[in-house]
């Protein structure tokens, strides 16, 4: 198996509030022989606040990240955080389709014209894992024997013209990865419903209302966990569980795991290395069962 080298943009969340996503991404990549080349001196993508109140910077910040990747000789960049992924693909799309936006960004970045041609391709973590999915089954040492709800959220799939990822209203790529390591996934109605995203701090009630609907459906359909690939989806369903449970008749106690943590558990990586201990809602199902044969 030859190592796959790919540009890596962790973004701010993966070094802070979603350290567990960053930790599990790194150890899983290592186990699957993926060489994550972190973009040197990367900056914040601007996230929601930039596109909400500063359009110019909402394009310039992510494009600056991609320019650094290009200068480092990276043809592709993988960003696990859905919000960063969205800003990177949207920024790239805007300079590639609008000459006026491109000219503006060239000024903000003080770069010569032409510098923004041929920016790297942007991938999310599901796309990367799907690409090398044949490497996963032979390395599974512990079947992920749970029934779970794969929750994609907004920004991996929308807008489809820009992301070009999976089926917009009923994506399946994460479900396929869970099945690959022995898990079962439920059919449910909230795969791509919004969790309230950046309103976690400024309008917590919105996050409580939307999260309650999402968890209620997952629990009703017998999911034992919700699987995500976005720091905001994770914190809104995990850290904000108190706010959500205020609105549910029966409090939801199912944990929220990152897809990289699920793959990591199946690969036999210790839960501490995957950051499971950092969750607010504890993972109660067994994660240290006796090693089994690889999944056929």
């Amino acid at each position: 198996m030859t190592a796959l080298r790919i540009g890596y943009y962790p973004g701010c969340s993966l070094t802070g509030t979603s350290r567990d996503f960053g930790e599990s991404t790194r150890v899983v990549a290592e186990a699957l022989d993926i060489d994550l080349a972190e973009i040197p001196e990367w900056n914040c993508c601007g996230s929601s606040p930039a596109h909400m109140i500063d359009h110019v910077m909402s394009v310039a910040l992510p494009v600056n990240v991609l320019l650094k990747a290009k200068k480092a000789g990276l043809a592709e960049v993988m960003s696990p955080c859905s919000a960063c992924y969205s800003r990177l693909v949207m920024g790239k799309h805007e300079v590639e389709t609008s000459p006026a936006a491109k000219a503006q960004v060239e000024k903000v970045l003080a770069c010569p014209s032409g510098a923004l041609d041929g920016l790297p391709k942007v991938l999310n973590v599901i796309e990367l894992l799907a690409r090398i999915s044949d490497r996963i089954p032979p390395k599974v040492t512990r079947k992920f024997d749970q029934t779970v709800a794969c929750y994609y959220g907004c920004l991996m799939v929308r807008p489809p013209k820009v992301t070009g990822f999976d089926r917009t209203e009923d994506p399946v790529e994460m479900d396929k990865l869970v099945a690959l390591v022995g898990g079962k996934t439920i059919d449910w109605s909230f795969k791509t419903e919004c969790c309230g995203a950046s309103f976690s701090i400024s309008r917590t009630s919105v996050v409580g209302r939307l999260g309650a609907k999402i968890l209620q459906d997952a629990v009703k359909r017998k999911a034992e966990a919700v699987i995500v690939a976005c720091p905001m989806c994770h914190s809104n369903l995990d850290l904000r569980r108190g706010e959500i449970n205020k609105r549910l008749e029966k409090p939801a106690d199912i944990p929220v795991l990152f897809i990289t943590q699920v793959i990591g558990l199946a690969l036999g990586i210790p839960e501490k290395k995957l950051g499971l201990h950092r969750h607010f809602v504890r993972v109660k199902f067994p994660t240290k069962t006796a090693p089994t044969q690889a999944v056929p």
Partner: protein, 194 residues
């Protein structure tokens, strides 16, 4: 038009500017309401998303001010559901971004949205200062801006214990470069739009 940009006789409607600056044509909307039906925030809004477009379609100052001073533009989460489902592909999230910035520039932002505005401003200030987001500093700034000193304090100890929050900036990145980008962007925004 640019030479008369400032004069009142040559007023560009918001719809015209949105088309020129953001490539969004509000005339394409035929008011089917699909955006509103699928919007996760519509239930809390004072003006439904489809109605925001309708206000812009009239191109009258009165209706434009109603859109700019609405709470709705600050409750849009940016989930992109509306534009994904719009039969006319009207980029409503882009229109919302445009309206928020215009509302701030004209000091028409709805006061009920002060907390939302404060969060966005504190976030960007943190990025401008540090190149990357420094969560602890950003939340401190947000509390100063809003006076919500006690909100979420109960979560803080667990966040520190679980390593999800640090009182120290992450380091790394290129602070000076990002600060210069913000400064140059301010100059770019002052140039007349072509």
């Amino acid at each position: 038009m640019s030479s008369h940009h400032e004069s009142s006789s040559a007023r560009d409607s918001l719809a015209a500017r949105l088309e020129k600056e953001g490539g969004v044509s509000v005339a394409d909307c035929y008011q089917c309401g699909k955006c509103t039906a699928g919007c996760p925030a519509a239930v809390d809004m004072d003006v439904a998303p489809s109605q925001v477009l309708r206000l812009l379609q009239s191109e009258t100052p009165k209706h434009e001010e109603r859109a700019l001073s609405s709470l709705s533009i600050w409750l849009c989460i940016g989930c992109e559901t509306c534009v994904t489902r719009c039969p006319q592909e009207v980029d409503l999230p882009r229109a919302m971004d445009f309206l928020r910035q215009e509302a701030l520039a004209r000091k028409l932002a709805n006061q009920e949205a002060d907390d939302v505005v404060a969060f966005h401003q504190a976030f960007l200030k943190s990025v401008e200062k540090g190149g990357r987001l420094f969560e602890f500093g950003m939340i401190g700034d947000y509390k100063l801006r809003t006076g919500h000193f006690f909100k979420d304090l109960g979560l803080a100890p667990t966040m520190f214990l679980k390593g999800k929050m640090s009182p120290f900036p992450h380091g790394g990145g290129n602070k000076r470069e990002v600060a210069k980008m913000f400064a140059r962007a301010r100059a770019v925004k002052k140039e007349p739009q072509k």
